[in-house]
Amino acid sequence: MSISVEIPTALRRFTGGVAKLDSGANSLGELITDLEGRFPGIAKHLRDEGGQIRPFLNIYVNEEDIRFLGGEAYRFKEGDKVLLVPSIAGG
């Protein structure tokens, strides 16, 4: 099982410039653990002190907001494309 993860410019400071990576994570929780293992310190930018996904971080799976897919309960599928958007603007 492998998913691909796209890291936007704003988060590459925490990934040493890595813009794209593959992960074997089955869930969002596992993905964050995987990212923290590779890039120590990144998790605190993704979760708040209470362990919740930060309110301004948006996570999309195949262009769908993960919150419509069950959020942390969503189980990744082979080939899922994950996009992190640190702070959605607009409006």
Binding site: L11, F56, D65, F68, S87, I88, A89, G90
Partner: protein
């Protein structure tokens, strides 16, 4: 840029100077402009503002405009009209309509935010400006870009109203219709912004842009005779307007231009896209995103950027939030037009109908001063009224034909009236 203002992170407080960016590098939270209020307090008076132009620029001391700039395009300063007939229908005594349906140049409050954003775009040296929009922002960006010599790339959901499409292209802007909802358009623009050196008014220029919304609040206070209302009812899409009107009131207090007073903020959404009202009604601090399904397209944002702050503004002010159906918002458009002669778009129908609901619920008191923010013009969303308003048959240009027609109308009116009486008697 000057030192009167700069970007600061809303969460961690980091100071970021002035640059085109919408979020904090450290904690990834949104940033906003803060000012040197002490210096402004010493220099700014009611009289100095009243001597300024009849436009948003009279408040430039509290906008992110460099001291050396002299913007002159007469945006904003729309009427605050007393609304006694609407008030009577709704059972209150002191109601006002802030009428941005007649904002210059493109008939919505978005003219205000774009005016400030394009000034920043010029400062930062962008040649191309852009936005993701549900229509009103598209019109405003296209018009002022034309005036100021920027190229404009405008991204909209494909299904927005025809008048908003034409009212973008007429200015020579490049319009990109995206087969998706606003939230998808917005996400796409976030990605495009990483690739192109463009000034996206509501992405990388968003902190500057959003400051323009404060001018609605400044004008309300000045037009009420330098005092604050008890209640404000505001439509919510991304949620920035309601938070920025609150910021405006707070700033006027802190620089000593109005007396401190609690103002309750009431937010309005269409039920078919109501992430913020749902959170407020459920006593939650965070919203769940929604997939919009409403004819109120201009406020159909399911993942509002300032939703978190809008919820906070409403709850901490002691206000509330409500939403109405598409049928109710159409009735709201008609109610405002029939009572006060103001023809607003779907979002204004939402705001009017929500005001009615809040009064019926007893959340807005009869003797309090309440301002209803009307943010857009009804001529842009006439599609919403095709079922509600029938175009009458033509008559021949002959007196006899008119008399026959008038008799027919009188008969129909009498019949409708007696039916209404019968229905009333039956209750």
């Amino acid at each position: 840029m000057g030192e009167r203002y700069e970007l600061r992170c809303r969460e961690c407080g980091a100071r970021l100077g002035n640059q085109p960016r919408s979020f904090c590098e450290d904690c990834l939270s949104p940033v906003e402009i803060t000012y040197d209020y002490e210096a402004i307090r010493l220099a700014l008076t009611r009289a100095s503002i009243e001597l300024g132009p009849p436009s948003i620029w009279r408040y430039r001391a509290l906008l992110p405009i460099p001291d050396e700039d002299q913007p002159t395009f007469p945006v904003g300063f729309t009427p605050l009209v007393n609304a006694p007939h609407l008030a009577k229908r709704l059972g209150v005594h002191n109601l006002y309509v802030k009428n941005d349906a007649v904002c210059f140049p493109t008939l919505s409050f978005k003219d205000r935010v774009v005016a400030v954003a394009l000034n920043a775009a010029k400062q930062f040296g962008f040649a191309v400006v852009s936005c993701s929009s549900t229509g009103n922002l598209a019109n405003a960006t296209a018009a002022q870009a034309a005036r100021q010599g920027f190229q404009a790339w405008i991204f909209v959901p494909a299904d927005i109203e025809r008048a908003k499409i034409i009212g973008t292209q007429v200015y020579g802007a490049r319009l990109v219709r995206v087969a998706g909802n606003y939230d998808q358009v917005n996400r796409l623009c976030t990605q495009i912004q990483e690739k192109m050196n463009w000034g996206f008014v509501n992405v990388n220029l968003r902190p500057y842009y959003a400051e323009g919304s404060k001018t609605v609040g400044f004008e309300i206070a000045e037009q009420l005779g330098w005092r604050l209302p008890d209640n404000v009812v505001v439509p919510m899409a991304g949620g920035a307007l309601i938070t920025k009107i609150r910021k405006a009131f707070t700033e006027l207090i802190s620089v000593g231009l109005v007396e401190e007073k609690p103002v309750r903020f009431f937010g309005a959404q269409a039920t078919g896209c109501s992430p913020i009202t749902t959170a407020v009604k459920g006593n939650k601090e965070r919203f769940d995103p929604q997939k919009p399904s409403t004819i109120a397209r201009s406020i159909a944002i399911g993942n509002p950027a300032d939703g978190f702050y809008a919820i906070h503004a409403i709850r901490s002010s002691g206000g509330w939030a409500e939403d109405v159906s598409d049928a109710e918002l159409v009735a709201g458009i008609e109610l405002l037009a029939e009572t006060e002669g103001v023809f607003t778009e779907t979002a204004g129908g939402v705001t009017t109908a929500v005001t009615q609901k809040l009064i019926e619920q007893g959340r807005i008191g009869a003797d309090q001063t309440t301002v209803v923010c009307i943010t857009g013009n009804g001529l842009k969303t006439t599609e919403a009224l095709v079922d509600a308003i029938q175009v009458p048959e033509a008559i021949a240009p002959r007196l006899a034909d008119f008399e026959a027609y008038a008799d027919q109308v009188a008969g129909a009116t009498a019949a409708a009236s007696s039916t209404a009486h019968a229905a009333g008697a039956g209750r």
